[in-house]
């Protein structure tokens, strides 16, 4: 098996299955399987867990570039699209649970929340911004957009900042957990900033082609 086959038949399916585990665990909780429980307020639990899982996948997606550079694993790029799409999947699930199970499809409340609650405004903005990225994640769109694809997908930095901010802002008092997310995001963005200031390390010049070229599988 060459690298392409290993990714296609082993690593990618494994990552796909692993990425569904948070959802599987929540389903276990919802139906009381395997001793899992969602507690006294299952709706809030589902809502918060999906939101946090979306943030986890956003951070994982952003970690791909630094890890492949630092660990010398340029092939990791092949996993990034899937991680990004799972971030969108869990964010969309988070929003759907909020709209259907929490607000119970009360559109008036939804409108008021988005218009008047800054933390919901920025969370909703982050979700909307993810939409074009998800839609342009196909090989065909990457080819069609060419260089503009990369520019467009830099939106992920804005999305991640809005996402963590959304988390921080909705917490009543104990901001320790959102601060951990903010710290990790600062590290990931700081790495990029430092790299752009210090220039590309020599070792990466040889792989920079694959960093910008669309992933083909």
């Amino acid at each position: 098996m060459n690298v392409t086959q290993r990714y296609r038949f082993i690593y990618k399916p494994l990552v796909f299955i692993a990425s569904l585990l948070p959802l599987a665990w929540l389903l276990c909780g919802a139906f009381g399987w395997l001793g899992a429980s969602l507690g006294a307020d299952p709706v809030k639990k589902l809502e918060h867990e999906c939101g946090k899982t979306a943030l986890n996948f956003l951070l994982l997606t952003l970690a791909v570039s630094p890890v492949r550079a630092l660990a010398g694993l340029p092939q990791l790029l092949r996993l990034r699209r899937m991680l990004g799409l799972f971030a969108f999947f869990y964010a969309a699930l988070h929003f759907s649970i909020y709209l259907v199970l929490d607000l119970e499809l009360n559109w008036r409340l939804l409108g008021a929340d988005i218009a008047k609650r800054p933390y919901i405004t920025i969370g909703f903005t982050a979700l909307l911004l993810m939409l074009p990225l998800a839609l342009t994640s196909t090989n065909g769109m990457m080819r069609r957009l060419g260089r503009r694809w990369q520019t467009l997908h830099r939106l992920v930095y804005v999305i991640a900042v809005l996402g963590v901010w959304h988390f921080y802002w909705q917490v009543k008092r104990d901001v320790r957990e959102p601060l951990i997310y903010a710290g990790m995001l600062a590290l990931l963005l700081g790495y990029r900033y430092a790299r752009s200031r210090l220039g590309t390390p020599p070792r990466l010049t040889s792989t920079s082609g694959s960093a910008t070229a669309p992933e083909r599988t």
Binding site: A40, D102, E104, L105, R173
Partner: protein, 315 residues
């Protein structure tokens, strides 16, 4: 979905198992006395913590009470962690006996009192109250307690006692959440004297006919049903009568978000979220959200306390 008029939802009709459970609970006090007469073969329900009380239908709502597992498993009690599930997991470290209450300030009778002595001869009653958290969720809870007014009268507050301040125990060994500076410990709360003396204001020692679980504020907590839950301070060790309005913990933590009065008010939103509706914990799928009622449905009893006050400013 549009907001519905309050009506009797299917969820509010008592299911048979709860009905029978209630009978068991009402019989709880008798059962504890009778258990010694029963043959040992059938172990009776542990009734050591059963309380003797009478139901007070006059001050009870007809809504379906939440299950004990919900009331005792979903708690905001930051002294035991900031997760809703932490208090039920960690509050066993609280020692509720012996327990003493210090009474201070503008009163003729001051000093430190043993809780057992304060409770001696105190008639307990069960009241089923709505409970509305500032976080926009709600419960219906069968508390067991007694009116605060009777207790306060025993201390003979003087004419300069305009407010009463309550303080929660401060002991990070028993309350591990206090090791984190999430709030300014110890937790403090206060009421205006007329609010404290109002017949709805309850001192609570029990839940579902039994001694209050630690995570719900044992051994003694306040319940002010027309105010957001954070006013109903738990595990009280100090009562002080003051001439001026005392500070309260959430107001100290975020004065623009939490006021002194904290009356449940669907018209006045929290700066970050709406208070117009609430979600009833344990309600059926897609039928949990309901309109929040002014003063949590107790407007007829308490609205007059705030006549002429701007409730938007005094939130």
């Amino acid at each position: 979905m549009t907001l519905r008029e309050p009506r009797i939802a299917p969820s509010e009709i008592t299911p048979p198992e709860v009905y029978f459970n209630r009978r068991t609970l009402i019989a709880g006090a008798l059962a504890s006395a009778a258990s010694s007469l029963l043959p040992a073969a059938e172990p009776p329900a542990p009734a050591a913590d059963a309380l003797r009380y009478t139901a007070n239908p006059r001050y009870s709502v007809s809504e379906q009470p939440n299950r004990l597992a919900e009331i005792a498993g979903y708690n905001n009690f930051y002294e035991f962690g900031t997760d809703k599930e932490s208090p039920s997991a960690t509050a066993h470290s609280l020692r509720t006996r012996p327990w003493s209450i210090s009474v201070q300030g503008e009163a003729e009778v001051r000093g430190t009192f043993d809780l057992e002595d304060l409770l001696k001869g105190q008639a307990l009653e069960e009241r089923i109250y709505r409970f509305r958290c500032v976080e926009a969720w709600s419960l219906v809870v069968p508390w067991v307690g007694f009116p605060l007014s009777g207790l306060l009268a025993r201390f003979k507050p003087t004419s300069s006692a305009k407010f009463v301040q309550f303080t929660t125990l401060y002991d990070p060994r028993q309350m591990p959440g206090q090791r984190e500076a999430v709030l300014n410990w110890p937790y403090v709360e206060g009421l205006r004297m007329d609010e404290a003396m109002h017949p709805l204001t309850l001192m609570v020692v029990g839940l579902y006919g039994r001694v209050l679980p630690n995570q719900d504020g044992a051994p003694l907590r306040l319940i002010v049903p027309w105010k957001y839950g954070f006013k109903s301070i738990k595990s009280i060790v100090k009562i002080a009568f003051t001439p001026t309005q005392p500070r309260n913990s959430w107001n100290i933590a975020a004065p623009n978000e939490y006021g002194f009065y904290a009356n449940v008010n669907p018209q006045v939103d929290h700066p970050r979220w709406s208070q117009a509706t609430e979600r009833r914990i344990g309600a059926p799928f897609l039928a949990a959200r309901r309109p929040t009622l002014p003063f949590n449905g107790y407007a007829a009893e308490v609205a007059s306390l705030y006549q002429g006050m701007d409730l938007r400013r005094n939130f």
